[in-house]
């Protein structure tokens, strides 16, 4: 039983080089994906290096110059306490991308693990894990968040963890559903007949079939997580004052006057967020096409 497993694995590695090359070629043919990748790199670069190039810091207040529209001095204007919007947009991007990526990563990991195990193993494991999902979908998040907030207080790490651990149940159900579909398909049955283990079935036959779901989930969840972060500061979680994040910049529009009269205070963060998730989605689409062995046929 060990032998065929090893030999197949080696043969897999031999071909992996050419598969990788072919995948890259396919990815580069996908114009939106390449555009998305370039744009995303630009955003990440701006967020990382931008603050070094700006004169005003993101938390530097200036009460004599509040709510100023864009000008040569402040390219994107100033906010309600006279802070430079551009500086906050870039500094906020760091925080938001960190929280978003972290939380999405956690949700992806937990959700796909639980979903795959339930889908592949079936039986009582499936039943037990799915009841756990039911439970997680039912508990009101706000009550849970109040409890966590009282224990931990605000902070980037807690916030990332909490958001990640709140958002996996949907993915778990999506992944399990996909496994239910492919579980009885011939090649999986055959693999199982040859004695392939659960992990191998999940990695070898599951993952390639899951990429579409994972890509959509990741790009949508990235936006959700970044927006959710801002909502948490009102119950004592989230990112503490005065740190900027895209979420709390968009939240400034809760004030009708900011919404209607100072659009430069929330619109840039909204556009940056939309652009980021759009890029992630295009890159994901490109990856999906590139890794799908059938798309060349």
């Amino acid at each position: 039983m060990a032998l065929p497993y090893q030999s197949r694995s080696r043969s897999g590695r031999e071909t992996s080089h050419s598969v990788g090359k072919r995948a890259l070629r396919r990815f580069l043919r996908h114009r939106a994906a390449v555009g998305g990748a370039l744009m995303f790199s630009a955003i990440v670069l701006a967020v990382l290096l931008g603050p070094l190039l700006l004169r005003s810091g993101p938390n530097q207040i200036h009460l004599l110059a509040i709510n100023r529209p864009p000008s040569p001095l402040h390219w994107l204007g100033t906010d309600g306490v006279g802070r430079d919007i551009l500086a906050r947009l870039l500094a906020g991007g760091r925080v938001s991308l960190m929280v978003g990526a972290g939380a999405t990563g956690i949700a992806l990991l937990v959700g796909s693990c639980i979903g795959s195990l339930a889908g592949v193993l079936g039986g009582w494991v499936d039943a037990a894990l799915m009841r756990l999902v039911d439970l997680a979908m039912t508990l009101p998040p706000i009550v849970l968040l109040l409890v966590v907030a009282s224990i931990t207080g605000p902070g980037i790490l807690t916030t990332t963890l909490v958001i990640g651990l709140l958002s996996w149940p949907l993915l778990a159900r999506l992944v399990r559903a996909r496994f239910l579909e492919i579980r009885e398909q011939d090649y999986v049955t055959a693999a199982r007949g040859l004695g392939a283990g659960t992990t191998r079935i999940i990695l070898r036959h599951g993952l390639p079939n899951l990429i579409d779901v994972l890509v959509v989930f990741a790009s949508l969840q990235l936006a959700n997580a970044i927006l959710l972060e801002a909502g948490l500061s009102f119950i004592g979680l989230g990112i503490p004052l005065p740190t900027a994040s895209w979420g709390n910049m968009i939240n400034a529009a809760r004030s009708v006057v900011v919404l209607q009269q100072y659009p430069w205070q929330w619109l840039p963060a909204g556009i940056a967020l939309a652009l980021t998730v759009l890029c992630v989605n295009f890159v994901g689409d490109g990856l999906r096409d590139a890794l799908d062995p059938r798309s060349d046929l």
Binding site: Q60, V81, V256
Partner: protein
């Protein structure tokens, strides 16, 4: 099929509604903002919402709309005797309950008994613990006696709605709060009578033609509920309602519109940075002074509040209550640094972040706290603001074993008027929790003595003199860093005539004369 059969009567319904004298029903957001308490119908257990209660219930006395003196409501007049230990009220003749029964002095006695009975859950029971006797003389005279002088009794009465004995006597006091009477068919003596409560949406009243003050000019009144002030302001702009409280930043969108009238007034709530007296780093007055010099309060009021706040150098801003030779603590970061160095701040706390707990969750407060944070950072104080909801806030500050590390500083508000004794709740050592709400454990013997003295003085001028001393003492000793009293706003459509509204803590408690309100086309 079903829909088709339903449509004709439905259309008729709309037609009938528009056939009503249109424009005679005033719709407002009467419970929007901090003075409102939507969905609360039992006035004995209510801590706000008096503007609305006053349209269908009535009190014995009220403030005038300027909050300078008391005026009679159900009481035609009253006398005080024995240095505030005895009050006699003469009721207005010919007052009818909305079910046609006459109001009697027995109703007043009944209401006071309910209010002083803790079993009803009444918020007045603590303050009425010294009540000794209530005697009724004839049909329209009531005398109330206290075992100790109660000089704030009239202030309490402005919030106590008189209730009908003939309808409520059969309900045991402990079950009164749970009764559905309050939101199904309450009966008061006010100019409007209850029609219905549509849960979560609005309360509808109609005119009470036999009202003692004359038949109301409006045919009805509707109190529409809003979850956010922003949506109420939009509804006003869209013409769906004629009145609402608005946030300061909304005012500019109404100010120059001839269709609206903006009403401004003091909030009677002083905002302050409260130092926890148990926190060792604030023991030194030099440190507390440094906070005052480090924060540019004038700039915050001018820029962030757009000038819509009055700087407070003590708990009061009313000119009559300002003590003599107050230090106005002008912005002076250099002096703040010197004071901190003198106090040994680097040993006391240094650059460790100090949590600032607040229950204000609006954008303006976030901006104010960010500004304070930046200003204090310049002199070497690192504050970490934390916004939580009211329940969390209260659970921290009023815990049975409070942990000062969770709230070394609070950014909060305390009612400072119209009755100046209100601030004693947070500043007198007689009011440590659980007896009172001095949760910062402010223990300044001079202040405690002044409040006690003022509480047994009936002469207004003597009282005023004592409160001026309170002001001077707080200004000197700084148990808190007083900040400002913000201005609050309401906006009313100019189609509403004779409308009286003014901001006040908990809303209402002043003579708004709803019977005179009217609508023009």
């Amino acid at each position: 099929m079903t829909l088709a059969m339903m449509t004709p009567p439905a259309l008729l319904g709309t037609a009938a509604a528009s056939a009503l004298p249109a424009g005679q029903v005033l719709i407002g957001g009467f419970d929007v903002g901090p003075g409102g308490l939507p969905g609360k119908f039992d006035p004995l257990t209510a801590t706000a919402g008096f503007t609305w209660y006053n349209t269908y219930f009535e009190t014995l006395v009220l403030y005038n709309p300027g909050f300078t003196h008391f005026v009679g409501a159900l009481a035609k007049n009253w006398t005080t005797a024995q240095g505030g230990r005895s009050y006699t009220f003469h009721l207005r003749p010919g007052v009818l309950w909305q079910d046609g029964e006459p109001l009697t002095a027995q109703d007043v006695k009944f209401t006071l008994e309910l209010a002083s009975n803790p079993a009803t859950g009444s918020i007045f029971s603590g303050r009425l613990s010294d009540l000794q006797s209530i005697s009724v003389v004839g049909k329209d005279t009531v005398t109330v006696r206290f075992s100790r002088p109660d000089v704030n009794f009239l202030d309490l009465l402005t919030k106590l709605m008189i209730l009908p004995q003939h309808l409520l006597a059969s309900i045991p006091p402990s079950q009164l709060a749970q009764s559905n009477w309050w939101y199904t068919h309450p009966i008061g003596t006010g100019p409007f009578q209850f029609v219905k409560y549509v849960p979560g949406q609005y309360v509808q009243l109609k005119a009470f033609p036999e009202y003692w003050g004359g038949k109301p000019k409006l045919s009805g009144l509707v109190n529409r509920y809003f979850k956010t002030v922003a949506s109420a302001a939009e509804a006003l702009k869209a013409g769906s309602i004629q009145f609402t409280y608005v946030n300061p930043d909304n005012v500019s969108t109404f100010a120059h519109d001839p269709k609206f009238r903006v009403i401004a007034g003091p909030s009677y709530v002083v905002n302050y940075l409260g130092f926890n007296a148990r926190a060792p780093m604030f023991k030194s007055r030099l440190v507390r002074e440094a906070f005052m010099y480090a924060i540019d309060r004038k700039q915050i009021v001018d820029s962030l509040y757009g000038g819509a706040a009055t700087l407070a150098d003590c708990p009061y801003v009313a000119p009559a209550l300002l003590g003599s030779s107050l230090n106005s603590y002008p912005y002076d970061p250099t002096k703040a640094k010197e004071l901190l160095a003198q106090a040994g701040w680097s040993q006391l706390n240094g650059s460790k972040p100090i949590p600032v707990l607040t229950y204000y969750d609006d954008q303006l407060t976030a901006n104010v706290l960010s500004a304070m944070q930046a200003m204090l950072a310049q002199v070497g104080i690192d504050i970490a603001p934390r916004q939580v909801d009211v329940a969390t806030y209260n659970s921290i500050i009023l815990a049975s074993h409070p942990d000062w590390r969770k709230f070394p500083i609070v950014f909060a508000g305390l009612q400072d008027g119209p009755d100046p004794s209100s601030v004693a709740v947070g500043l007198s050592a007689n009011n440590f929790p659980p007896r009172g709400a001095n949760f910062l454990h402010v223990n300044i013997p001079e202040l405690t003595k002044l409040f006690t003295e003022a509480g047994s003085t009936t002469a207004l001028s003597a009282q005023t003199h004592l409160y001026r001393q309170v002001c001077a003492e707080v200004n000197r000793q700084l148990p808190w860093a007083p900040m400002w009293v913000a201005t609050r706003y309401g906006v009313v459509s100019t189609s509403v005539k004779n409308f009286v509204w003014t901001p006040s803590p908990g809303g209402g408690a002043y003579a708004a004369m709803p019977q005179d309100w009217s609508l023009s086309r």
